[in-house]
Symmetry: C2
Subunit: 139 residues, 2 copies
């Protein structure tokens, strides 16, 4: 899909920086931490500021192109806007998507009057690589 048209459709101006961020995030489904994205893109746009990254990501989020979630208090942007879970390795920090199971039913214990709109869930544990390393250490 052409990112130009995607941005246009959302009434967003098409600029090289935005295209770069869009390509990087929307074309290939992946996660992005503002700081990392910034460092990557500086190779192509040495004058770009971290601020631009934040503003662009926030704007994409407002337009539903990205979803923001948090891992240990740090923002992560996800081009997969469908509801889904994440799993994060507590050792190396690698982050993967997990399809949301069919347990989206609101907790039965919810006090009446609450209007639940969704949830975000972060599984934590050890990725295969770290699991192996730590498994050896623990054994």
């Amino acid at each position: 899909m052409d990112m130009r048209t995607v941005l246009h459709q959302h009434g967003l101006r098409v600029t090289p920086q935005r295209l770069a961020i869009a390509d990087r995030l929307l074309a290939e489904a992946r996660h992005a931490v503002p700081q990392e994205l910034y460092e990557d893109l500086r190779e192509r746009f040495p004058s770009m500021s971290l601020n631009t990254v934040y503003m662009t990501l926030s704007q994409f989020e407002e337009n539903g192109l990205l979803r923001r979630f948090y891992v240990d208090g740090r923002a992560v942007f996800d081009s997969n806007t469908a509801p889904h879970d994440h799993a994060c390795c507590r050792s190396c920090g690698v982050l993967i998507d997990l399809p949301q199971r069919d347990d989206v039913a609101v907790p039965s214990a919810l006090p009446s009057g609450w209007r639940i709109e969704g949830y975000s869930r972060l599984w934590s544990g050890l990725c295969p690589a770290c699991s192996e390393l730590e498994g050896v250490a623990e054994a």
Copy 2:
């Protein structure tokens, strides 16, 4: 339960500040944001520093007396250390506990090799009060 003994059992020194934080958090099950806790406790301990609050909370967390989670990137400490969900009102920010359902089964789509240890889940929506207000506005 006497907080003195609890602290002792964990090999933690008993100081007035810690007792105050422990009383405030552990006796009555509740959530605490460091800044708010700090402001509250300053009434009793005008000289106490925010740093002390952070260090105490971190230490309690390390000893399993508290659990730390994040809401929109901000740390919240929870004296309920049993696994459970939270719900947060996106309008007023009120936070409540929800018992964890029996869906702790690891996602079936998890790549093999991962060792999952748990999850944290934050439901979001509108609390009864805000739901009513917003419901009127939207109708």
